[in-house]
Amino acid sequence: MTTAERRYGGPSDPLAPCVHCGFCLPACPTYLATGDEADSPRGRIVLMRALERNEIGADDAALAQHLDACLGCRGCEPVCPSGVAYGRGLEAARERLFEERGLPPLARAVLGMFRHEALWRPLFTAARALRATGLPRWMAGAGRTGFGMGMLAASRQQIRVGATGATRDAMPKHVTLSKAKGPKREGGPTVALFKGCVMDTLFRHVNDATRRTLEFNGYDVLEVEGQGCCGALHEHAGDRETAAALARTNVAALAGSGDYIVTNSAGCGALLKDYGHLLHHDAEAAAVGAKVRDVSELLAMAGPRPGAPLELNVAYDAPCHLQHAQRVHDAPLAVLRAIPLLQLRLLPDSDHCCGSAGIYSLLRPAMARAVLSSKIEAIAAARPRPGIVTTGNPGCLMQIGAGLIAAGLDIAVAHPVELLDESYRRLDRGY
């Protein structure tokens, strides 16, 4: 094989169209944070190709460092004029790194925990209990522990409404599921709720809001047993095998149920939709993937029905796995526009990654914080200052929320369906 032949892995090579133009640089959060070509999509493509050609081995520390430092946000894909499939290239490179090098201990521990419900459920349940004490909010700050506490505190925050800052009563400690009292259409579409791991524990209130808002918009929401973690974190880390195992469990549980499968976590949604590819085009997995929708997509399809006014100044921040991976841009905005009086804004860099990226913020806190800082600065500089930042992914909610607390900004974070749910609650007509 000549050098040239090795350079391109054949017509299916997702990286082949890269002509090195550099138009991806300004879209890359890590490049913006360091200015280092090795932390840019274009530089990483060079590294991936070198890995593929065996010019640099998987055991090369520098190569691993810069490929590991990729957030996987895929913000580079929509700006690439040649349509380089960066995400696919990264997936292959990470798989190779995982096979030959394995994972660092911390990542291995964390991912191992997510693999088994018997491990993550008690842990997140305990975290919820801790959150309920108010201690995390009190301990939250800019230091490493403080930031972690901030993330926990940010996973559920009060929504304060009105220019005067009038505060709604503290969230009820235990939300009881209320069957939708809205006008349910007979024979309306049925939706299986993908419960997830973090969403089913730390963010159960978002799952509840999802169920309520969907039912209010005419969907029939089904509970499906036997689900687990989606496997996205494992897939991002190159552990395709574990991801596939988790996917198979979910496919078995979800196959055949509902017209749609709904998730409110952008990260989960991106992989769920891609289950067909993950399981090597298994027909059942592809069928499940094809039915997956982000909650905002289903709500937008239904209208959604307008709610009661919420006098809120809201900045929307687009989760990478929603806008880049799933290419869903407008649906969350449609959800928020269903709330009268809510002032919606997109701040500068709202389309840039916040640095959360699954377990990235845990493994590479310094880079994650560097990436986050420009977003926090943009929010802090906004006039008038938003009262709430809303985004549809648990990691982003926690990362941005903790960042706001660390910066001493009194700005809450919330999932868009939480806001819609709050708006519907105030309708006083049997929501």
Partner: protein, 468 residues
């Protein structure tokens, strides 16, 4: 060296491991590759100065690099050289809207500057197609152009003052905020010196008001010649459009297949993009004249846009055309030649003839208004015989442009890519004069060595007292 650099900028900002250096082997032109010895990323002007002083004391060659989007292999360093990446120097130091000036560090991204001054109703005019990524420091080094330089001039017309670290680490200030040279026009001399005179660490640029009225028109032609003739006819009518761009069918097809699809007609042999700006009445009147000319020269359809969103859509295809070439084939030979505008129709025929004879895929996207051609040859370098034909064709195209009275580069610079073409347009005395000027700034020839001036073609320049 790694340790010494680390002491200046902090070890975190020195890159020396092979994988890291691999990412710095190319700029925007992937056909020129070389591993730099070390990459250093200074975070302040003072650090740049200290790094350059270290280079001076150790006699080490160095190469300054911005975002690495240059298209002439100008920011590529040899293994004995230190690559100084200036991306961290990305602060806009001052904006003075009243006097229409901005002071910035060299690593500021071109488009970010315009975004920052937008609230004042101002913008920075030079708009190379890579403006979303490229740095103003790189623009200064290359004297970058862009579609709107037809009416408003290139980088050299918009830079008024520079702080420069010379290769011996002396810091000098050239020009004045007012734009009046302070002595000989050293700012004019420095802009476009491709990193061989020193490193600009502070740049004062002119800002211009955003025109109150802008009209963008898209015309499609069934022949390239018709489109080329329309270009000359518009200029001949005394109209100076803000921009006048052409794309041929191959280019349009690539763009329309990309996410930047702008709705260009893919069955046209060529499309022209004409932009007029100024006062509303004047733009209106000139648009009518332009449309008449376009139709008279055979335009099948003329579309017109005046809202920012519609105009942006018409433009984005043009701006991203180069990047979209990866859709045609994995490798791309980017050309950048200039011909007198009147030679456009003939040179386009000639390029087509060369393309046919060598059986190549050539797409043309260029600044027609000032005769600045970008014939891009798509190929796959796995086929060595094809790669050879590409080289021959490039040389033939360049020779044809020079024969027509043109130049070997209009905006990409010479770098390492076009150095062999320099003797086509400059004689030995002129090349030696260039080298002698370089020696006045850099007596040891350590700043971006081996670029622009082919030393073998220089006549020996008489030894002078001060320039050694």
């Amino acid at each position: 060296m790694v340790d010494a650099l680390g002491r200046i900028v902090g070890p975190r900002w020195v890159r020396h491991r092979r994988a890291e250096l691999a990412t710095y082997t190319m700029d925007g032109l992937p056909t020129r590759e070389s591993y730099p010895g070390v990459v250093v990323m200074p975070g302040s002007t003072a650090e740049v100065r200290e790094v350059v002083r270290l280079m001076h004391l150790t006699g080490t060659p160095f190469v300054a690099r911005g975002a690495g989007t240059g298209l002439s292999g100008g920011a590529v360093a040899d293994p004995d050289a230190v690559l100084i990446a200036l991306t961290r120097l990305n602060r806009i130091l001052q904006v003075d809207p009243r006097r229409r000036r901005a002071t910035l560090q060299p690593g500021v991204v071109n488009a970010r500057l315009s975004e920052a001054v937008l609230p004042h109703g101002l913008h920075y005019v030079p708009d190379p197609s890579s403006q979303a990524a490229c740095t103003v420091g790189g623009n200064v080094a290359e004297n970058a152009g862009g579609p709107h330089c037809l009416k408003y001039g290139v980088t050299t017309n918009h830079v008024v003052e520079l702080e420069v670290v010379l290769p011996d680490a002396a810091v000098i200030r050239l020009g004045s905020r007012q734009g009046e040279p302070w002595g000989p026009d050293l700012v004019g001399l420095f802009v476009g010196s491709e990193g061989m005179f020193g490193i600009a660490t502070e740049i004062v640029v002119r800002l211009e008001p955003i025109p109150s009225s802008v009209r963008t028109m898209l015309a499609d032609f069934s022949t390239v010649r018709g489109a080329s003739e329309a270009v000359s006819a518009i200029i001949g009518a005394g109209i100076v459009p803000a921009a006048l761009e052409m794309m041929d069918q191959a280019c349009v097809e690539a763009v329309e297949a990309s996410i930047y699809a702008a709705g260009y007609p893919t069955d046209a042999a060529a499309v022209l993009l004409v932009e007029l700006d100024g006062g509303a009445d004047a733009v209106e009147a000139e648009a009518t004249t332009v449309e008449t000319i376009l139709r008279a020269r055979g335009a099948r359809e003329v579309r017109s846009a005046s809202t920012p969103a519609d105009r942006a859509r018409l433009w984005q295809g043009r701006k991203k055309a180069f990047g979209a070439m990866g859709r045609i084939a994995p490798d791309l030979a980017v050309q950048d030649a200039v011909v007198p505008r009147s030679a456009l129709p003939d040179i386009m025929d000639r390029i087509e003839e060369i393309r046919g004879r060598h059986h190549l895929a050539i797409s043309n996207v260029f600044h027609a208004g000032d005769g600045n051609l970008h014939p891009n040859i798509s190929f796959d370098r796995r086929d060595p015989e094809l790669a050879d034909r590409v080289q021959v064709a490039c040389r033939e195209i360049m020779a044809a442009c020079v024969a027509a009275g043109g130049s070997i580069t209009g905006e990409h610079g010479v770098g390492s890519d076009k150095i062999d073409y320099m003797p086509l347009i400059f004689d030995g005395d002129t090349l030696s004069a260039m080298r002698a000027v370089r020696l006045a700034f850099d007596p040891d020839e350590r700043a971006n060595p081996g670029k622009v001036v082919p030393l073998h073609a220089c006549r020996e320049w008489r030894a002078t007292p001060a320039a050694r």
